[in-house]
Amino acid sequence: MEGKFIGTRALFSFLTACTCFALGACNGSGSGRSSSDTVHAVPIVLDAGPAQIGAVNSPFVTVTLCAPGNASKCQTIDHVLVDTGSSGFRVLAGALGNGVNPTDLVAITDDNGNAVVECTQFADGYMWGTVKRADLRIGGEIASDVPIQVSGDPAYPSSLIPGACINIPGAEEDSVDQFGANAVLGVGNYIQDCGSGCTDAGSQDGSAYNICTNVTPMICEPVAVAPSAQVTNPVALFAADNNGVQIKMTTVDADGAVSGGGTLVFGIDTKSDNALGSATVFALDPDFGTLFTMYAGTPLNRSFLDTGSNAYFFPDASIPICSDQTDFFCPTSALAASAQIEGLNGSVTTVDFSVQNADAMSSADAVEPDLAGPAPAADLSAFDWGLPFFIGRRVVIGLENTSFGSVQGPADAF
């Protein structure tokens, strides 16, 4: 087992060199790196999402996925959700099949060929699917041999999902319809999706990584996985520009727009045009990836900046909740509000925002800068600074194990 692991590692740099060429070939632009913005950035679109979804405030990019080192097995995937609230790339199996099939990717297995299959839990449900290695090209950046998740991989059906994975009574999100995107690109503040919480064999319960036999009777067991084989934030595997991302969303009219856009920039202070500059840096609680928000006199100490949330979500019992869509607020008239965001390093900034009636918003709009909704009014409270917060801003998401000025990551800045 140890020998195989080391062998895989030794092969790594070789594959990286090869797949740069391979990916360049499959995109018709194998000219190598330059300092131009096209190399370390990719356009973000805000639109209605994959067919029939009707997404709102959902930032999408296009990603090219290839079998490791194989330029003849590539697929361009549109409507990949950019998510600063998670780390790692997850593709819905239903979105594959147009150049790459799940079987084209390299399974992460034990010595007996048993596959690593992951449960990914959300507040509203869970994903289930294999962990495989793939090459990813995002803009001009290339991450080779990245462990990704193939959600809904038909080789390991949902009948195998462990009890601990469905210990939250949500929905299975292994289809494009249910999840709302063809894939999710987790560019959060962590390098792996689980980290040290998944490396201790004695404390795994099946709610994260599992090892599954591939012959009848198929059986899945909880398993500990080394960080190098966990689903990994592709940004951390770029050759350069690998210390985080910046999200720049274009301002749109407060009453909404049919579409919008912006740019996902890779790297912080790695190129002439991605400087941290005058942005204020907020250190995050490394145990949770959260910062502090004070709203209406209430401390919300588990707050976060999340492009994967499509509204401001915060507790305020004084704002009416819509009767027909209880995820959102429906104030009788537009509200002006503000809150203070504070990092663990003591940085404080006041953020002003507005809340408009969700029922009054046009169903044709894919961008609504004033969309907000209720969040837990508990002691364990959060202000979920969703996509509207990012509109008209440049927001920096800094990875763990890197530093931003005098602040150690994980950190955010804006």
Partner: protein
């Protein structure tokens, strides 16, 4: 750096653990249930049960080896769980903790649009809040009509 690629638990033993978790019967669940349901919840966490008593309620707290903390508040008069909170690097068995209310959470999840990281139920008879953080989880659930008179909601942490 980890020395081994994947580290296994003994196949047979961990199968039994998984099966135990999978069949946690909702009928024994906690919210609105009695003390026996709490003991069951804590067994699935492999945690010990620490009880702190006040005049109006008993606070049962479980801390699992994996760092999951569950607190369940039991009305001393009725013997029923009226509130619970949890936090930690992973979820406790929320299905079992919510008991007969789990189906309402599931319905809310299916209707839910907007954030995979937060979900809340804000009904007159049931409040549930769940946060999926980048690292870890937090959540609480309580029955507003079952909070003993004289207990401040703010102390149910």
């Amino acid at each position: 750096m980890q020395k081994s690629f994947l580290r296994f638990r003994a196949m047979a033993g961990s199968t039994l653990v998984v099966v135990t978790l999978a069949v946690s019967p909702a009928s024994r669940a906690a919210l609105g249930g009695d003390v026996a349901s709490i003991v069951h919840d804590h067994e699935t966490l492999r945690a010990s049960d620490t009880v702190t008593s006040t005049v109006l309620y008993d606070l049962h707290e479980a801390q699992s080896p994996a760092g999951v903390r569950v607190r369940e508040y039991v009305d001393r008069a009725s013997g029923k769980v009226f509130a619970l909170t949890w936090q930690g690097p992973r979820l406790p068995d929320v299905n079992a903790l919510l008991g007969s209310y789990a189906s309402r959470y599931q319905a809310a999840a299916k209707e839910h649009h907007g954030s995979h990281h937060t979900l809340s139920i804000d009904d007159p008879d049931l409040k549930v809040s769940v946060l999926r953080l980048q690292r870890g989880w937090q959540g609480d659930a309580y029955l507003p009509n079952a909070i003993p008179q004289g207990v401040d909601r703010a102390e149910l942490r």
